[in-house]
């Protein structure tokens, strides 16, 4: 059963000088127990997408301008603020990027975790449950009495996880959970996530610009570029045989490979502002065709079950 279905979502920010389209068209799904990664660079719209999934777009500024979001079969695209308050946390909880600024600096960790528990687990023994949750994320019980600034970055991230887990979520959305951490701590957090998924059967939507992190933690991956989901499939299929030139370029750049001239492979140009009718990657694509500039390609099969990419190059090819 799909916990989360996003169908052709379009997100717009309204500013004093006009509107910007943050997400042009995004489609993805996360099933029970699945781990899906959402990959994209800055400006791809992935963070906006994440916030929209819990109705957390800045109130008078961001809005859903098209498409739908369904959580556990329920259409949540046009929920009111009060209805969102009832829905958040369960079945989906979220963990944000910067652990220091994501925690209330003047409230003890235990109390912040306690808030989740009291909200979603009303009958539970508070102290015991907090201890339990801290144990789950491998933090000593003493952390409950500490303030965020007293903990290290990795510990704060774990505390954030504990807060999210207090909601007993069926699915966890993690927005760049490892970006603010050093490499060793990153590995620890990823291991912890894996462990939690195993123990709790929790689904995961992991958002990151780091391919390595996604490859490590996720079964499936969705790649976003300039506000559009452009390729998706199992991690294995997509990373070994990417269908979209952007995905190939990302992987190549990520592997720090050199090309024939001995230069590092980079992706020329910058992310555009979206809009326009053609493929947004056309200005930077090494294999661009005239058609790409005028028509946005639909999804084509790219080899492997459930592996598709929106690229004209794949037209007519069979897996």
């Amino acid at each position: 059963m799909s916990l989360l279905i996003v169908d052709r979502l379009r997100l717009v920010y309204d500013g004093p000088r006009g509107s910007t389209v943050a997400v042009q068209e995004a489609t993805l799904a996360v099933g029970e127990g699945e781990a899906v990664g959402l990959v994209g660079e800055s400006g791809s719209g992935k963070s906006s997408l994440a916030r929209a999934l819990l109705g957390l777009l800045p109130r008078n500024v961001g809005r859903i301008a098209g498409g739908t979001i369904s959580i556990a079969g329920r259409d949540v695209t046009r929920l009111s603020r009060r209805e969102w308050e009832k829905l958040r946390g369960q079945p989906m909880a979220m963990v944000f990027q910067d652990p220091l600024s994501s925690l209330n600096p003047v409230m003890r960790i235990g109390k912040q975790i306690g808030e989740s528990v009291r909200r979603h687990d009303p009958g539970a023994d508070l102290a015991k449950r907090i201890e339990e949750l801290l144990g789950l994320v491998r933090l000593p019980a003493a952390v409950a009495g500490a303030y965020p600034h007293e903990l290290s970055g990795g510990m704060r991230q774990r505390a954030l996880l504990a807060i999210a887990l207090g909601c007993r979520p069926a699915m966890l959305i993690a927005d760049e959970p490892t970006t603010a951490l050093d490499v060793t701590t990153q590995a620890e957090i990823l291991a912890l996530l894996r462990e939690l998924r195993g123990k709790l059967g929790m689904a995961l939507l992991l958002i990151s610009h780091d391919l390595g992190v996604v490859a490590d933690a996720c079964d499936r991956v969705v790649i976003m570029y300039s506000g559009r989901t452009v390729e998706w499939g199992s991690t294995a299929d997509t990373f070994v045989r990417p269908g979209h030139p952007y995905a190939s370029a990302l992987l190549a750049a990520g592997r720090v490979m050199r090309n024939e001239q001995g230069l590092f492979m980079t992706i020329e140009g910058e992310v555009g502002s979206g809009g326009g009718t053609g493929c947004p990657f056309a200005p930077r694509c090494p294999q661009v065709m005239p058609r790409c500039r005028s028509d946005m390609p639909p999804a084509f099969a790219a080899g492997g079950t459930g592996h598709e990419a929106r690229c004209w190059l794949l037209e007519g090819k069979t897996a």
Binding site: R51, L54, L56, R59, N60, R81, E85, K86, L87, R88, G89, Q90, A93, M94, F96, Q97, D98, S101, S102, L103, N104, P105, V106, M107, Q112, E115, S116, R119, H120, G135, R138, L139, P140, A142, V143, A146, Y147, H149, E150, L151, S152, G154, M155, L160, I163, A164, G166, C167
Partner: protein, 329 residues
């Protein structure tokens, strides 16, 4: 905590010293015979004048006089007020109490109202509500406080005749018991409103800015992602964080609020420091003026230290600086 307090107190000493010296220098600006400075225009018996001369060493070099002055200060001797027939220190302290009776409720009311206004304005930033609140704040603080007092008197005492125009208690048929309390409160309303309006402006501005900043912080997102109601997020997460700058601003504006109280008192004939100040000017009671300067500057220093302490207590980031290395399991 103790170390913090000690450091602050240590720093306060040179500041108070400078204030004392400044205060001493003030008296020497009075034209004419320095005795006039100490006694004022009152016809004093020659023996008293001679005594003053000796006590204050008026014929001695300046540095000696300064030393005597400081020594006197340390002993709590600020001089004598001929006009009021009291030692200056006692006089100031008794009047200060009355001024505080006016100031403290006003500041408390201003803080509460200001925070409410800030809480109302910030989430609606850019809207008409916000513009109104911001506009009123700016207006409230661009107005001369004594003019505001005059307007209040004209509106409520003259036109509508609801409130007494002056004084702290009704002098004719002075009431007693509960009625005395009610009478006092009735007299308190207008001057207190005046001061409150003036300071709501300051607090509202700071509160609005603080809440606005908090609204953009990630921890608010975390709180909301937990499924907490908007109200809970506001009261339990945003407010405690936003109050920190508000508390510090209110504390540090104690000095200006003292000035405001003094000016307000003159319009309402409220018998506190302000009225004493004005009457002493008229009667050329210079030691009192000097004393009031000394007192108010010192009061500001004390208020600053208290504010620092409150800030230190309220923000956990300050007093738990040792990062406890809690071991990883």
């Amino acid at each position: 905590m103790l170390r913090f307090l000690l450091t602050r107190l240590l720093w306060a000493v040179p500041i108070v010293l400078v204030i004392a010296v400044l205060s001493f220098m003030l008296l020497h600006l009075v034209r004419g015979d320095p005795v006039t400075a100490l006694i004022g225009d009152f016809p004093a018996p020659p023996e008293y004048v001679a005594r003053i001369r000796a006590e204050f060493g008026l014929d001695e070099p300046i540095m000696t006089q300064l030393w005597r002055y400081l020594v006197n200060l340390a002993q709590g001797n600020l001089g004598f007020s001929f006009a009021n027939r009291m030692p200056v220190l006692d006089l100031i302290l008794s009047r200060a109490r009355i001024t505080l009776l006016l100031m403290v409720p006003a500041l408390v009311a201003a803080s509460v109202l200001g925070v409410i206004m800030g809480l109302a304005a910030a989430p609606r930033a850019g809207s008409a509500t916000d513009a109104t609140i911001t506009g009123l704040s700016l207006l409230g603080h661009s107005v001369p406080i004594f003019w505001l007092a005059q307007l209040l008197v004209m509106a409520f005492a003259v036109q509508l005749q609801w409130m007494p125009a002056s004084g702290m208690i009704t002098l004719r048929d002075t009431p007693t018991g509960w009625q005395a309390v009610a009478d006092f409160l009735w007299h308190l309303v207008m001057p207190m409103t005046c001061i409150t309006i003036y300071y709501v402006a300051v607090v509202a501005r700071v509160a609005r800015a603080a809440v606005l900043e908090m609204l953009n912080r990630d921890f608010v997102l975390t709180a909301m992602a937990k499924g907490l109601t908007h109200r809970r997020v506001l009261w339990r997460h945003i407010l405690p964080n936003a109050l920190i700058p508000v508390v510090t601003v209110v504390g540090y504006s104690f000095g200006s609020s003292l000035t405001g109280a003094i000016l307000t008192e003159t319009v309402f004939a409220w018998p506190g420091l302000g009225s004493l100040f004005v009457s002493s000017i008229a009667m050329r009671d210079y030691p009192v003026l000097q004393g009031i300067f000394l007192f108010s500057a010192t009061a500001v220093v004390v208020a600053n230290i208290l504010t620092d302490m409150v800030y230190w207590l309220v923000d956990p980031r300050l007093h738990r600086r040792r990062v406890r290395v809690v071991a990883n399991a």
